[in-house]
Structure formats: C-alpha cells, structure tokens
C-alpha cells in the first residue's frame, strides 16, 4: 500500500468513526484536537486502526502520534516493520 493509499484509507475511516469532515485532516493538524479525542476516544482510535489495518497497536505507540502526518508515518512504518497489511 502506498503512502497515499494509507492516507486515503485512514481519512475515510476516521471521518466515519469520529464524524468529522475529511477536509479538516491535513498532516500538520493536531489529531486529538481535530477528532476531539479524549482518553476514551483514543481507545476507539486504536480499535479502529487495528480493525482497518490489522496491526496490534500498543498504547505507548499511539501516545507518540501528535498530528495526522505522524499517524500516516506511523502506519507506513508499521507496514514496513510488519511486512503485510490486513485486508
């Protein structure tokens, strides 16, 4: 999956789950503010990404993700590290 494909797939999933306009999503934007992620909604973000991409994501990993750009890079690295994507 290319980076662009990861971005598009992520944005579609985030927009649906958190009921936000995808136009708000840009790499510099703060993820927590844009998606209104409190500590509980952050759990839903992890569940969503695990479901969407098939990776197990640990709590400390997602804490490091600050912006949408961070998230795309994080998922790209996960793909690289784990060498596959779930359907």
């Amino acid at each position: 999956m290319t980076k662009q494909e990861i971005i598009e797939r992520t944005n579609v999933a985030l927009a649906e789950e958190f009921e936000k306009e995808p136009s708000l999503f840009n790499p510099q934007e703060n993820l927590r503010e844009a998606l209104e992620l409190d500590s509980l909604a952050l759990v839903d973000l992890v569940a969503l990404l695990e479901s969407e991409f098939g990776y197990k994501i640990k709590g400390p990993e997602i804490i490091e993700v600050k912006t949408f750009g961070d998230l795309y890079e994080f998922l790209l690295k996960k793909q690289s590290d784990e060498g596959h994507l779930a359907s």
């Binding site: 789950e17 958190f18 009921e19 209104e36 409190d38 509980l40 909604a41 759990v43 839903d44 992890v46 569940a47 695990e50 479901s51 197990k56 994501i57």
Partner: protein, 406 residues
C-alpha cells in the same frame, strides 16, 4: 415535617408514540403497539411477538463522544427526559445551579454485553471492543449517561427491581423529596427492546404465542390469555417538592401521595397474593385516603395466567365492595418491564388529565378472579382525581403508587 411531592413534568417514548401527545391519542383510540417480528422467529424464538419501537436518531442532538456510550434504552430515556424537562420548565441554567437527582429503573443491557463478548471471543483482543462497551453494558448505563448529558448533580442511581424498577424509582424519589434530601429528582424507567434482551425470557415460555393476531396477543385479565408480549422504551417523571415547584412557578400536575412496597419471599417467578396485597395497603395507608377515593387502578397485569389472577385476588381483597375501573395498559403496549412502572404512571396521568380510561384491550371473557373486578374493555369517559398504579417483579418485588390530581 414531611414535604409534599408533586409531579411537574413528564416525557415518554413508547410503542404508542414518541411524545405525550401521540401517546395520549393512542391510549384514547385503543391502539395496539404489538407486531410480529419474523426475525425473532427465524432465530429461534418461541414467540415472535414484540412491541415495535424505532431507535431515535440523535446525531443532530448529541455528539459522537456522547452517543458512543448509549445503548438503545439510554436513547429512549434521553428523548423522554428532554420532553419531561421541557414540560417542567427545567432549563440548563437551573439544572446547573441546583442539585437535581436522578433515579431511573433499568435492569439489563443485554445487546451491548453480547456484542462486547462476541468481539472479545472473535478477536481475542479487548482493545477491539472499543470505549463504549463498558458504559453501554452496565446496568446503570441509563443513569450514567443521563447524568453526564444533562449535568445532574444530585443523587445518581439506577433502580433495578425487575418489572417494578420504574415504579420503585418514582417511589424512592418521592421518599427522598418527602424527607428533605432532594428538592427535585428525575425519575423513570427504561427498557431495551432488542431480541438479545428477551431471548432468555422467551425461553421460559412466558410469552404469548398468539402470533397470527399480534394486536390480540396481550390480553390481561382475559380468560384466554396465554402469556405476555415484551415491550419497551422509556418514561420520565419529574418529581419535585411542592415548595420548589411553587418557587419556580413550575406546572404542578399531580401529587405523589402514597408509595407502598413489599417482598413476597417465595418463588422467583410465581407471584403470590399476600405480597401485592401488603404493597397496596401500605400505599393506601401512606396516602391517607379513604379507599373509595380511588377512581382508577392501573394494574400490573401482564397477561400471564398466574400473575393476573393473583393480582385480581389481591385487589379484590383490598378494595372489598369498592369497584373502581381497573385496566392494564399492557393490553396496548405489551409488558414494558423495567420501564413499566414509570410509563404506566404517565399513561394514568394522561387519562386522569384527559377524563377518560383507555380500554383494557382484548378483555372478552373474565376468569373467576378477574370477574371480581370492574374491567372496561371499551374506552370510557370518566373524571377521577386519584389513581393507583401497581408494578410487580421477578423475585417478588412489589411497588404501588397512589397519585392525586392537582
């Protein structure tokens, strides 16, 4: 000195309508809210009969981060409570400045529980359950959601008393106000309607199987009744001290003058006569009225063989030769279980204010016990000032409320 407890607002979301006006019309016209659900039948239910309720869409009213914690019965309760608060004139500023309590009847949250465990079993990963699961699954889901949404700062408690939950919530709320612990308590009852919530109930052969005539299946007190029909939704009643209501200039609709309760201490599902009889007597004694002042009785009668007969016996023992109209609105709604005690107070209030008594649908032939009561099968016009509402539940928990028009 005890305080007087008054009702200043009501709201309802049931199979008879999504607000008080719709429900009043349905009661007046003797509408049945019961349908046959083929999906239940296909999935192994003994009876596919159920009340029909549409889950409200709240996307435009509540944020995603609020709705994610709400199972269906919390959504019903939200809609009912919005209506009740509006009718009571309780706005967000007043609520924020005062300790408004919340006592709501609820005794299950099956669907979220099942769905959470299904995900856990399939994925073997608890994170995948998501954040809503725990809050939707807990028995106190309705009160935890409503208290956070409306910013309530008084008592925050779910009442789980089986099919008497909603009635006990109102009764306990009235005690808190009567004795000065709270000035205003939002009371009510909520009931989920999804198949998961009642599959085990269906499994003990408690439901009517008159599937070819859904509107005739719930027939409390009728000789040929063959079981209850599950229903649901939510009903909210705002209780307030008389002083608080007067100070606010709130509409004062009625007064809760009696709350009686008792336990049977016998069989887990079979009701007896003595328990309900004691509950009735306690409520009437607390109300301080002559029994002949009771103008209408909303019976618990669910359309089961033993339950209806024993309630008829208890009522006859208590009432003697006084014969006020006795009906079960469950003939129209099915058994609204955890919600029923609250919704039936509202149904009775709507009838008291409207000067009519809705028909006990499908009461075609009495049995030897129901023949002792005055049960109208057609709507009648009647002015009454005091009614009594019974609610009984599994395990032998009984609640009786006496309410006077103001």
């Amino acid at each position: 000195m005890d305080k007087r407890v008054v009702i200043t607002g009501m709201g309802i979301y049931s199979c008879l309508g999504k607000n008080l006006d719709e429900v009043r019309d349905a009661l007046y016209n003797g509408v049945s809210g019961i349908i046959f659900d083929p999906v239940r039948k296909e999935n192994g239910f003994r009876s596919g009969l159920t009340a029909q309720i549409e889950i409200p869409e709240l996307k435009n009213e509540l944020s995603r981060n609020q709705r994610v914690f709400m199972p269906e019965q919390a959504k019903y309760a939200y809609v009912a409570t919005v209506e009740a608060l509006k009718n009571a004139g309780l706005d967000p500023d007043y609520i924020n400045d005062h300790e408004i309590g919340l006592l709501y009847g609820n005794d299950s949250s099956a669907e979220p529980t099942v769905k959470c465990v299904d995900i856990f079993r399939e994925k073997r990963d608890t994170t995948r359950i998501g954040s809503g699961g725990i809050f939707q699954s807990m028995n106190s889901t309705v009160t935890m959601n409503l208290s956070c949404i409306f910013g309530l700062k008084g008592i925050n408690l779910t009442v789980s008393g089986a099919c008497a939950s909603g009635s006990h919530a109102i009764g306990l709320g009235s005690l808190l106000i009567r004795h000065g612990y709270q000035d205003c308590v939002i009371c009510g009852g909520a009931q989920e309607v999804n198949p998961f919530s009642v599959c085990s109930f269906d499994g003990i052969n408690a439901f009517s199987v008159r599937e070819n005539e859904p509107a005739k299946a719930s027939r409390p007190f009728d000789r040929d009744r063959d079981g209850l029909v599950p229903g649901g939704g939510a009903a909210t009643v705002i209780l307030e001290s008389y002083e608080s209501a007067v100070k606010r200039g709130a509409p004062i609709l009625a007064e809760v003058i009696g709350y009686g309760f008792s336990g049977n201490g016998e069989h887990i599902s079979n009701p007896n006569v003595n328990g309900p009889q004691r509950s009735l007597l306690m409520a009437i004694k607390q109300a301080g009225i002559n029994i002949r002042e009771i103008g209408y009785i909303n019976a618990h009668a669910t359309s089961t063989l033993v339950g209806d007969s024993n309630e008829a016996k208890a009522l006859h023992l208590v009432l003697g030769d006084h014969k006020p109209e006795v009906t079960s609105t469950k003939s129209q709604t099915g058994h609204e279980m955890w919600m029923a005690g609250a919704s039936e107070v509202i149904y009775s209030m709507l009838m008291m204010k409207g000067g009519f008594i809705a028909p006990n649908l499908n009461f075609e032939n009495p049995d030897e016990d129901s023949a002792l009561l005055n049960i109208p099968s057609k709507r009648i016009g009647k002015h009454f000032d005091i009614f009594l509402s019974n609610s009984f539940g599994f395990g032998g928990t009984n609640s009786s409320l006496v309410i006077r028009d103001l």
